[in-house]
Symmetry: C2
Subunit: 342 residues, 2 copies
């Protein structure tokens, strides 16, 4: 694992970054996306409680429109593109779930979308992104820079860039997951002690952490990352943004970001508790558990928080724990592999 420190200005900075995000932005996002995003359920399961020794509340964002939470941030962001710029469309880079969220949002808003995706993204994600009507441009994860490709595309067409995580509108949209979790837990008479979510660039995690800080300040948020992509954990420990040595090699295709997003890190360094890492085996066990016991289809990256709970990575005994199942866009072949392991 690398401990390369990033310069503050390194990486792509979208036009809208830099504004401080507040709970009002998340509430505005909730109002904006409410007509199109699904209010996903907060589920329980006695067997999961038994395994965890805790009361676990499962936010099932795999059931979200486009198959992951990414629709929330994308739809919020695209809704904010001003009228005239809408005709020039949007560009996004994504391993697949942001791609589908942007593509689905663009279709609903009558915009064109071009998505820069890794050539080794799960076939289902490439296929579904095209299915939503987007144009897909592929790149090599090991040798090419997706941000540079996206920037060039934007320069050529005048399209608006929709960053997967380092954008206040995207973070505010993802933060609606946290708003809903707090409200749904409260409706059950519960205040959550911990919330765990998988963390790539940190858009979802920072959005949830902001929502919790405002609406449920006693709840502690934790990042969950794959072993080779634990940049947030190491960065939070070090107090500065560090990148990963690996560029591929995790079963969690959705979580292989190279370093924390600038905005997400600035939020999570204030608000996040202990970071957790999970192995590929723990993640695949969690995908199988979700299938067999919870009856939910969850992709590997989407099962990281469940994996953290099932493998006892945090001291959670007798607490109320919220976890986010972030996505369900798993290739059938991957699920066949998971089911054959048992």
């Amino acid at each position: 694992m690398s401990d390369t420190q990033l310069h503050p200005d390194q990486g792509m900075t979208p036009a809208s970054s830099g504004k401080a995000i507040t709970i009002k932005d998340i509430e505005a996002a909730a109002a904006r996306i409410g007509g199109e995003a699904l209010a996903t359920p907060l589920l329980r399961h006695p067997l999961l409680d038994e395994r965890a020794g805790a009361r676990v509340f499962i936010k099932a964002e795999n059931l979200q429109r486009s198959g992951s939470f990414k629709f929330r941030g994308a739809f919020n962001c695209l809704s904010l593109v001003p009228g005239e710029a809408r005709t020039r469309g949007v560009v996004a880079c994504s391993s697949g779930n942001h791609a589908q969220g942007v593509a689905a949002s663009a279709r609903l808003l009558g915009m064109t979308a071009t998505i820069v995706m890794p050539a080794d993204a799960p076939a289902i994600k490439l296929e579904r992104t095209r299915g939503f009507g987007a144009k897909v441009v592929t790149y090599d994860r090991e040798t090419e820079d997706r941000d540079a490709i996206a920037t060039t595309l934007c320069k050529q067409s005048g399209a608006t860039l929709v960053h997967p995580f380092n954008d206040p509108a995207v973070i505010a949209g993802q933060g609606t997951v946290g708003l809903e979790m707090v409200a749904q837990a409260a409706a059950l008479g519960v205040e959550l002690d911990h919330v765990l979510a998988c963390t790539g660039g940190g858009g979802l995690s920072s959005g949830i952490a902001l929502a919790l800080a405002s609406r449920s300040p006693s709840t502690l948020f934790h990042t969950v990352e794959p072993e080779l992509f634990d940049d947030y954990k190491r960065s939070l420990d070090a107090g500065t943004r560090l990148s990963n040595a690996a560029k591929s090699g995790s079963v969690c295709d959705a979580l292989m970001s190279q370093s924390p997003g600038e905005i997400g890190f600035s939020i999570l360094r204030r608000l996040a508790g202990e970071g957790v890492t999970v192995s590929d085996d723990e993640v695949l066990d969690a995908v199988a558990f979700a299938f067999t016991e919870l009856k939910l289809v969850v992709e590997p990256g989407g099962a990281a928080a469940l994996a953290a709970v099932l493998s006892g990575k945090l001291a959670l005994t007798n607490t109320a724990v919220g976890i986010v199942l972030t996505g369900g866009n798993i290739d059938p072949q991957m699920m066949v592999k998971v089911l054959s392991r048992q």
Copy 2:
């Protein structure tokens, strides 16, 4: 298909049958099971609405404790066994989901359970039933009479028989699915025009029909059955209980009952609308759709109502339709087969 007419007294009649079931029994069941059964969500998905040309509300009983709605009826029924008889335990016959519902309920209530299951039941159902601590006795679906085996076991041990569908306490328990659907739809400002559920012996279907008749009388209930096991459709058309010629051969292992239950039929002949039949192919397409688009694990029998909607078997355009996904206990090998078809 056979049109053999059954004598009114044919088939096993449990001690508690004969009482008229009312909405008060379903409300009492809801109170009784509320602490243990899960309040499963009523889900939406834009792609399903698009495919159906209707607003579809999905009651996800595959997410229920023990993996199917059967827990509701079983827990209600076992809760009503008087104190002294509890020590002698319970016996049930079941293709697998009732087995798990009874086994899980018996464990919670500190009772022993013996389950008579077909030898060709999905391995996962046999395994999970044993996993809940029940003793399993297998029989040959083609040559042996499961009711006779169960009756003998009860005579030997003094155990209480828990019929999978022809019992008022079981029907009242399953009816809580209908109660919840009406309340959850109302919370969304919706009155359902139609509700579709798969129908084996008719315990769930008659319970839901009773709940709808009382709480949402403008909602029309429809039975959904596999092609070779359309005994309810034919019986409702004929006005008398008819049995099926086939004893096996459907992909819907949960729906291969031989004829309508006496009590269920007496309710559904008053309250059910047009009966629907679905083919194995339509069912497997629905299982795949649930996996790929809804991100839900549904077993073939549990996907029958979804199959009816996806294959356009009823005129539902522009209506509000409730469907029940009744169970998710699918063998991994069966899911691998389904995913390989695509």
